[in-house]
């Protein structure tokens, strides 16, 4: 999606800031958020760049990550890996991590969104531990108990070193929805990110179709 397209006022958007543009909704800590799409992993590491992170998910997914690339977003020393072959263990590990409050971010990788009850458990755990929960799902469910739901796609950019992600918030319990283009440049310590509004939210195909 081209960046120079004028940011059309979005019918879903509820809040407009002083300059007349829409700010990217912040991921509130103490809640669990869900991200899907091909750009989800980069987006999630971008959001987990502060403090320690715990990463739980299927072993093959975790072992495919390359730390030198992750180092562009966050410090690989701060990432704790918990490969779990069973989906139930992923849920348990995520809940334990969230409840302990020992890590600022818990990233859980799942095939399908957890059911409403399980998701609610995660939300309560996040609330207790005051940490941020992020779930990467490949097949998002129709409805979940997520605080916000994101769909992330990488976008072509002329800049070599820049990373551009089309991030769409299609569900937000306490804020605005819509799409944003995230431009990320620099590395860990000099990371710079700006978000430009890009119109209406985009739904994942499975849900929209």
């Amino acid at each position: 999606m081209p960046l120079d397209e004028p940011a059309a006022p979005c019918s879903y958007c509820l809040g407009v800031n002083k300059t007349g543009t829409y700010d990217l909704p912040a991921l509130s800590p103490g809640r669990v958020h869900e991200a899907s799409g091909p750009g989800a992993s980069a987006f999630v590491f971008l959001m987990a760049r502060k403090g320690d992170a715990m990463l739980c998910g299927p072993p093959h997914w975790l072992s495919a990550l390359h730390p030198q690339s992750v180092a562009r977003f966050c410090d690989p020393n701060a990432v704790l890996h918990v490969p779990c072959p069973l989906a139930a263990d992923v849920l348990w590990a995520a809940e334990t991590g969230l409840r302990s409050g020992a890590v600022s971010t818990v990233i859980a990788v799942m095939e399908k969104s957890p059911g409403l009850t399980n998701f609610r458990r995660l939300q309560l755990a996040a609330q207790a531990g005051k940490s941020l929960g992020l779930i990467i799902v490949s097949q998002p469910a129709h409805s979940t108990a997520a605080e916000t739901r994101w769909l992330c796609h990488p976008v072509y950019t002329d800049q070599d070193e820049e990373i551009r992600i089309h991030a769409s918030v299609y569900k937000n319990k306490k804020g605005i929805v819509g799409s944003w283009i995230l431009n990320v440049s620099g590395e860990t310590n000099t990371l710079h990110m700006d978000a430009a509004p890009a119109g209406e939210p985009v739904w994942p195909e499975r849900i929209a179709g």
């Binding site: 977003f73 590990a93 890590v103 990488p154």
Partner: protein
């Protein structure tokens, strides 16, 4: 202690004295008797006999399989008990104890009185003994095994004369040599005295001279005492069986407090522990936990056990609980920084909790490695072992996710392909970077992974893919080796 395994079963409540009883083990491709009680010995059964032969001779024979680890633990316990006689003791072989009683005997009223007391106290523990006291380790061993009575005391200086009538087996050397010696008619130790040691060495090797000299005390053969180990364990027996979770956790609290006190005394930190629960119906339940860092903190140990207490089935009640340290490390208290102390503690506890449920090999961190192969520039390491922070260098030329070469379907060829299908999506190359040639590890020989060329392809669709092919392969087979952020 010639019948240690039988005695141990007797102590455990088996009626070993009322019947023909033997302990068996699998040796030389057959189940054989290894230890017999006196009734079985009296009717002519011997150790080394196969079970089938023994059964044929005495159908009413009762046998139990040997438990070598428990026998060893029992022997070690007896060795620790022997500290009341001498500080210098060690287990020897499978069923013997060596005590260096130099200077200790007079405290018990002489050697004979000491041997009598030792025999009496072991008999109270239902352990049969044969005791030998002599100048040298070898002579004492020979006296215990081949002495005429249960207690054989060889007076100081009498060794040579007293040993002369002992069988040649008292050398306790290689079985083949003993066999050879017997074949030559040298049946007693005394038969060796007239022989020249050079002749013996030429015929049987230097080994026999060593054991001969040790036996007679001309070569030194000291008793090396078993190291005393701090017992980092505590147990609690209950007047009545308990079953409520609160009771169990209260008992656990008290046990952990005791263990931690001992840890502090010996400057040890606990790494893993086992809680053994002995139920009233004689069943045992063992629960183990591990910790991310050595600790002396009661709360941390109890919290790890608390997660597993719910799963314990108390049955008809718990008689006794024992908490023992499985792994303890020297503990060095370190001044922590105020800001990080709590955070680090929390993180350690999280690692321990995850590790105790999933296994500590499933709680990992990245560690950098020196290699030019992208796959090998890092390694996963157990989080409990990693203590230092590593220096990571961000590299934009490496993909976020690495795949094991997923083939693509080419629509428009090129080097790299201009348009292709991967995972059922079509990509059109907008910009390419490369090639980057990454060679194999030459020291592993030509068989290892071949040389490959890699391109970063920025597609119009947005995805940045890492395509690879082998340069020497024609036509090129293209694969997706990774995805960039």
């Amino acid at each position: 202690m010639p019948r240690l395994p039988v005695n141990r079963f007797g102590r455990n409540g088996l009626p070993v004295d009322d019947c023909l009883f033997a302990v068996t083990a699998e040796e030389k491709n057959a189940v054989r008797l290894v230890c017999l009680n006196k009734h079985a010995r009296r009717i002519g059964l011997t150790p080394g006999m196969t079970l089938a032969t023994a059964r044929a001779a005495a159908p009413e024979l009762i046998t139990v399989a040997e438990e070598p680890l428990r026998d060893e633990a029992f022997l070690n316990a007896l060795q620790r008990w022997c500290v009341k006689f001498t500080p210098w003791s060690a287990p020897e072989g499978k069923d013997s104890l060596l005590l260096n009683i130099t200077g200790c005997a007079r405290l018990f009223g002489g050697e004979a009185a000491m041997a009598e007391q030792l025999r009496q106290e072991l008999a109270d523990m239902q352990v049969e003994t044969r005791i030998g006291i002599a100048d040298t380790k070898g002579a004492a061993r020979a006296a215990a095994h081949f002495g005429a009575k249960g207690e054989t005391i060889i007076a100081p200086g009498d060794t040579r004369a007293a040993l002369a009538r002992f069988p040649i087996d008292a050398l306790f050397t290689d079985e083949k040599i003993i066999f050879e010696l017997k074949r030559l008619g040298l049946k007693r130790i005394g038969d060796l005295y007239p022989l020249k040691s050079s002749d013996l060495a030429r015929r049987f090797g230097i080994g026999i001279l060593r054991s001969y000299e040790k036996l007679l005390g001309s070569a030194s053969d000291p008793v090396s005492p078993a190291a005393t180990q701090a017992t980092l364990a505590a147990r609690m027996s209950f007047p009545d069986p308990i079953g409520l979770t609160e009771d169990v956790s209260e008992a656990l609290n008290r046990l952990a407090a005791q263990v931690c006190k001992r840890l502090r005394q010996h400057a040890y930190g606990l790494r893993s522990a086992r809680l053994s629960i002995y139920r009233a119906d004689k069943k045992q339940i063992h629960v183990e936990i591990g910790l991310a860092r050595p600790t002396q903190d009661t709360g941390r140990i109890v919290r790890q056990f608390a997660l597993k207490l719910d799963k314990i089935d108390a049955g008809c009640g718990i008689d006794m609980m024992r908490l023992a340290a499985l792994q303890a490390e020297p503990f060095k208290p370190v001044q922590k920084r105020f800001a990080d102390a709590q955070k680090q503690d929390d993180l350690d506890e999280l690692v321990a909790t995850l590790g105790n449920r999933l296994g500590f090999d499933r709680v990992l961190r990245w560690r950098p490695m020196e290699s030019h192969l992208p796959r090998r520039t890092f390694r996963m390491m157990e989080a409990v072992r990693q203590t230092t922070k590593e220096n990571w260098r961000a590299d934009a030329a490496r993909p976020l996710m690495i795949y094991d070469g997923e083939p693509i379907e080419i629509i428009e060829p090129g080097r790299p392909p201009k348009s292709f299908i991967w995972r059922r999506k079509t990509y059109t190359a907008a910009r390419i970077h490369g090639p980057e040639r990454i060679g194999h590890e030459w020291w592993k020989g030509p068989e290892s992974d071949a040389v490959r060329d890699y391109w970063r392809v920025d597609s119009k669709e947005g995805a940045r893919l890492w395509l690879s092919s082998k340069p020497q392969e024609k036509p090129h087979r293209w694969e997706v080796a990774g995805v960039f952020p």
